[in-house]
Symmetry: C2
Subunit: 206 residues, 2 copies
DNA sequence: ACCTGAACACCGTTCAAGT
DNA sequence: ACCTGAACACCGTTCAAGT
């Protein structure tokens, strides 16, 4: 069903590669709002050529995402016959965390970043942080949390359950409860293992 | 330092409220690309009035985020003197997950959603999913994972560590390791507690 | 078959004119 | 002091004309 099309003409194939490279670079540098005009200029082609290869700006983004997924799939498949499956899974998660969507993640976070320096937002955010720190300290003092988990840790993790379940929000609106429970289990004292990195002092930059 | 300004004129104060309500509704319905013109029309004011109250579209978004944070802070503070601190923390996380950024989350996820139906992306994504399922099944069979964790669970959780650590990417580039370890601890057999929701059959809609 | 750039529709932002 | 809408600059997308 998909792309049984015969090979592109030589110049077209070359332009497609130039465009993908230029778009990745431009999006990484300029964010998701990088203009098609800039991408075309960087690739050394006319604006119209961009739309001949990618019907819309979204299609261009999709092509870049595909490249990332392709790389992840190869990594995972290469680990299928490892000696220690537990270590293999952990290694996959490690590698995927390193390379995963790097440019794309930036695009997505742009809206949050945009409001990061707003004084109003900062003020209320700090207030909420402090309250969460207090809740965390009390929970730990009563033995409900492992000793090495801090307030900033909880702040950094608090968005994870909904974020993780977001793609299925419509078909399974309560799924976030499962991941909240799962992540919370990781914060309990039972079976805790030493953490590889010190806790952040503040969950926001500077 | 912030807003020691004297109260707005009556009509201006009213317009500000109308604009905030209209913007929240419009962004929720139309996504982050909802136009200022539509917001102004919905609020029943001229386009210029939007920019008199919010210097830029980003400022308008920041005002909406502030409202959400304000509500979260109040919830947290109200739980500070609860009898069971462990239960109080969990309840805060529960409530915050429910109300948290609902509209904003949608804006952020829009880029991922946009590529969701692309056939190329879908194809490679399913390939990667299957590989992760296999890695997960092997890890569980060898006793490295709790019995109730499935392949789709791991897929849904795999983006969490980097997502969670993203705000501090510059000042602490390796912080994601801490949260990967923390979340992975939650997937281990030791100290596992029953999960409140069945695992999804597929990490993507339909 | 593919490339090009002028042309179009749309959107964020500004500002002179109003009350 | 605040509101308004015409005007401007910019951007995604289209398409007639080229090779």
């Amino acid at each position: 069903m998909t792309t049984p099309t015969r090979p592109l003409r030589a110049d077209a194939a070359r332009n497609r590669e130039l465009l993908l490279a230029a778009a990745t670079a431009e999006f990484t540098e300029q964010g998701i709002d990088a203009s098609i005009a800039d991408i075309a200029r960087r690739a050394g082609v006319g604006k119209g050529t961009v739309f001949r290869h990618f019907a819309t700006k979204e299609h261009l983004l999709a092509a870049i995402v595909s490249q990332q997924l392709e790389s992840l799939a190869t990594t995972a498949e290469g680990l299928l016959d490892a000696d220690d499956p537990g270590a293999a899974l952990l290694e996959f998660l490690t590698i995927s965390s390193e390379q995963q969507w790097e440019p794309i993640q930036d695009f997505l976070q742009s809206a949050i970043r945009a409001t990061l320096e707003d004084p109003q937002v900062s003020l209320v955010r700090e207030r909420m942080f402090q309250a969460v720190y207090d809740l965390t300290d009390r929970a730990r003092a009563h033995g409900h949390l492992r000793a090495d988990v801090t307030g900033p840790d909880v702040v950094m993790l608090m968005c994870a359950p909904t974020h993780v379940a977001a793609p299925l929000r419509e078909s399974a609106p309560d799924l976030w409860r499962r991941y909240l429970a799962l992540i919370f289990d990781g914060l309990r004292p039972e079976g805790a293992r030493p953490l590889p990195h010190p806790a952040p002092s503040n969950p926001m930059p500077t």
